[in-house]
């Protein structure tokens, strides 16, 4: 058994209590260990991705228990990619949190940060639906702490809402898992894929209820309309590095939808095949519209970014909802891009609001501030990436999504909505940028004494932009990898055989 598979979970899980117990009074040590942990995680994730890219899916049986009875972790191309994406983001977030001194505004930032990474990585690697619930809880509990980091009345109130929504979501998750277990008698996803086609007709309705409830739970995480309402309030009030890290949290929801509904409710599921598609596509398209409307209507920079996140989740879920290999390649490519773009925008918005003094992030004119030119150009780059204009990866991603939608019955609707909402987002971002940078620059009394600020946080944000450029340059090998990943998703026999063993599949099919 390849023990590296569990390292992305165990490493932060050990590091976090170690940070709390032995170095809670020494910020410098916390920073060193947290940063080292993030870098080590990145190295492991790179190794795992290289392994996943060169071979078939690998199984890790916890406690050496055979698959349907014990909990398993599965490393395939998709999960390796998600772990890599998380660890890349975590390095940038760690650099930003340390250099911008966000981690001094409250206690235990680094411990919570590591717990958050543990939960996210666990959710990506697990092959068991109840274990997925547990890792969701781990990442949520850490995110409650991180979201409230720094305190303040507004953040506390937004935090209460966030916690309540997610507790309700967790309750739904349990009900869904209970229903599915009651019908199928298993919680292992590969075993579910085998059992679902054999469900007697009388239990079909119950199974559908369980599966669609699960879709609702994942949709809460992925901020799909009509259950997206928690996202703008939460992300706008969260500390900037945390909001940037949360960029990958919405992707956990998208990943879970993709994994669960291709594996369990794929072609083999008979009457229930592609159960999620009918619900997901309209909801995703409305999400796009709501996101674009929010971008246009936002009166505050971080809220504008929040709504652009909602919009990008709409694009991503539209591509997922098509449930074809080509659309999934597009979705995964867009997912990588939108994680980087979201993180870059949140970090830049924080830098800009921080420098504007009393005006903060409000979209009003304010005196010039330090490094206006640099921040303006970086914001411009991040905004065109998010809105989906060339030459950044957002354009490539959206182009792939549009191209893959050509074979769909609802092609006209999808094209119209994606193109119109892109235009609306461009207008929204252009309005924000021109108010903050151009109109402010023409104010009569520029403050020459605007103090210079450390440049390292800006460098951290630029790393995300550089990552996007890298993604654009290496788009060909990346899409090659994604094509194989998508092919794996749509022919899950190999995944099932890896988890359950060849004889089980042969006997049950």
């Amino acid at each position: 058994m390849n023990h590296w598979i569990i390292v992305p979970i165990v490493l932060p899980a050990l590091l976090a209590p170690f940070i709390v117990l032995t170095m809670r009074h020494d910020l410098l040590l916390q920073r060193v260990f947290s940063m080292a942990g993030a870098v080590a995680l990145l190295a492991v994730a790179l190794g795992l991705t290289a392994q996943a890219a060169s071979g078939p899916a690998q199984l890790y049986e916890l406690g050496n228990w055979r698959a349907p009875f014990g909990i398993v972790l599965v490393l395939d191309r998709l999960s390796a990619l998600m772990v890599l994406l998380t660890s890349l983001l975590s390095v940038v977030v760690a650099i930003y949190a340390i250099t911008s001194a966000w981690d001094t505004r409250g206690r235990h930032f680094h411990a919570l940060f590591q717990f958050q990474l543990m939960g996210i990585n666990g959710a990506f690697l697990t092959g068991d639906i109840f274990n997925l619930f547990v890792f969701f809880e781990v990442l949520l509990i850490a995110s409650y702490g991180l979201m409230l980091h720094g305190g303040g009345a507004a953040r506390m109130k937004a935090g209460v809402q966030y916690v309540v929504v997610n507790l309700a979501g967790s309750t739904l998750f349990l009900i869904a898992v209970g229903t599915i277990y009651g019908v199928t008698g298993t919680l292992n996803m590969a075993d579910l894929a085998v059992k679902v086609p054999q469900i007697p007709a009388g239990d079909q309705a119950l199974l559908r209820v369980g599966a669609l409830l699960l879709l609702v739970v994942f949709a809460v995480k992925a901020a799909l309309v009509p259950i997206h309402f928690w996202l703008p309030g939460t992300y706008a009030n969260a500390p900037a590095p945390v909001a940037a890290l949360f960029a990958v949290m919405t992707k956990v929801g998208a990943y879970s939808i993709l994994r669960f509904f291709t594996l369990v409710f794929g072609d083999a599921a008979g009457d229930n095949a592609w159960l999620a598609a009918d619900w997901l596509l309209p909801a995703a398209l409305v999400t796009l519209i709501v996101g674009a409307a929010g971008v246009l209507g936002a009166k505050e920079l971080s809220r504008l970014v929040c709504f652009s996140v909602v919009g990008s989740m709409g694009t991503l879920l539209t591509a997922i909802a098509l449930f074809t290999p080509a659309a999934t390649v597009a979705a995964l490519f867009y997912m990588i891009h939108s994680t980087f773009a979201t993180a870059a925008l949140f970090l830049l918005a924080d830098q800009i609001s921080d420098r504007r003094g009393g005006a903060g992030g409000r979209l009003t004119t304010a005196p010039r501030f330090a490094q206006t030119g640099l921040l303006a150009s970086l914001f411009f780059l991040a905004a065109i990436a998010m809105a989906g204009m060339p030459p950044m990866t957002g354009f490539l991603g959206k182009l792939m999504v549009l191209d893959s939608a050509r074979s769909s019955d609802s092609m006209a609707t999808i094209w119209t909505i994606i193109l119109v909402t892109s235009l609306v987002s461009i207008v929204g971002f252009a309005r924000a940028g021109s108010v903050i940078f151009w109109k402010s620059a023409s104010l009569p009394d520029p403050v020459e004494t605007a103090p210079s600020r450390p440049a390292l946080p800006i460098a951290a944000a630029s790393l995300m932009l550089a990552a996007m450029v890298g993604l654009a340059i290496f788009a060909n090998p990346v899409t090659g990898y994604l094509e194989t990943a998508a092919a794996e998703l749509y022919s899950p026999t190999h995944y099932i055989r890896t988890v359950l063993g060849p004889e089980v599949v042969a006997e049950q099919r």
């Binding site: 109840f130 547990v134 809880e137 509990i141 409650y144 409230l148 305190g151 303040g152 009345a153 507004a154 506390m156 109130k157 937004a158 935090g159 209460v160 809402q161 916690v163 309540v164 929504v165 507790l167 309700a168 967790s170 309750t171 349990l174 009900i175 898992v177 209970g178 229903t179 277990y181 009651g182 919680l187 997206h228 309402f229 928690w230 703008p232 309030g233 706008a236 009030n237 709501v290 929010g294 209507g297 936002a298 009166k299 505050e300 809220r303 709504f307 609001s353 903060g360 992030g361 409000r362 009003t364």
Partner: protein
């Protein structure tokens, strides 16, 4: 017994959802607690209701009761207990810092935001 357990779960869920939709934190917390009781009972029942049967296969008994849902319920109880504690503390902090225990934030009370008109959907879950 099925009817009793099923209606118990149903009534608790209904009461929990009703309380969850109230605008103040205290009823919301009680609602979440009720929901977690309901879901724990529900999870327990997914292993089918059986009385006086051991949770292992034994020759001396004429059947067995599924042990897995019991393990799941145990996990769910621990998590929901911890989360209730977190939200109680959080609600207290929010009350002390903001001076009101309303869950909704669409009152223009966010410092640093000129208006909350763009956040009209924010409080939708709790209002």
């Amino acid at each position: 017994m099925e009817l009793l357990v099923a209606s118990g779960v149903g009534v608790m869920t209904a009461a929990g959802v009703y309380l969850l939709l109230r605008a103040r934190t205290f009823p919301v917390i009680i609602g979440i607690a009720l929901l977690s009781y309901a879901v724990n009972t529900f999870l327990f029942a997914t292993g089918r209701l059986a009385t006086n049967l051991p949770p292992v296969i034994s020759d001396s008994a004429n059947g067995y009761t599924d042990p897995l849902p019991q393990a799941l319920v145990l996990t769910a109880i621990v998590i929901s207990f911890g989360m209730t504690a977190v939200i109680v503390v959080l609600a207290l902090r929010a009350y002390l810092e903001a001076g009101s225990d309303e869950v909704d934030t669409a009152e223009g009370e966010r410092p640093g935001t000129g208006s909350s008109g763009d956040g009209a959907g924010t409080g939708g879950g709790a209002a």
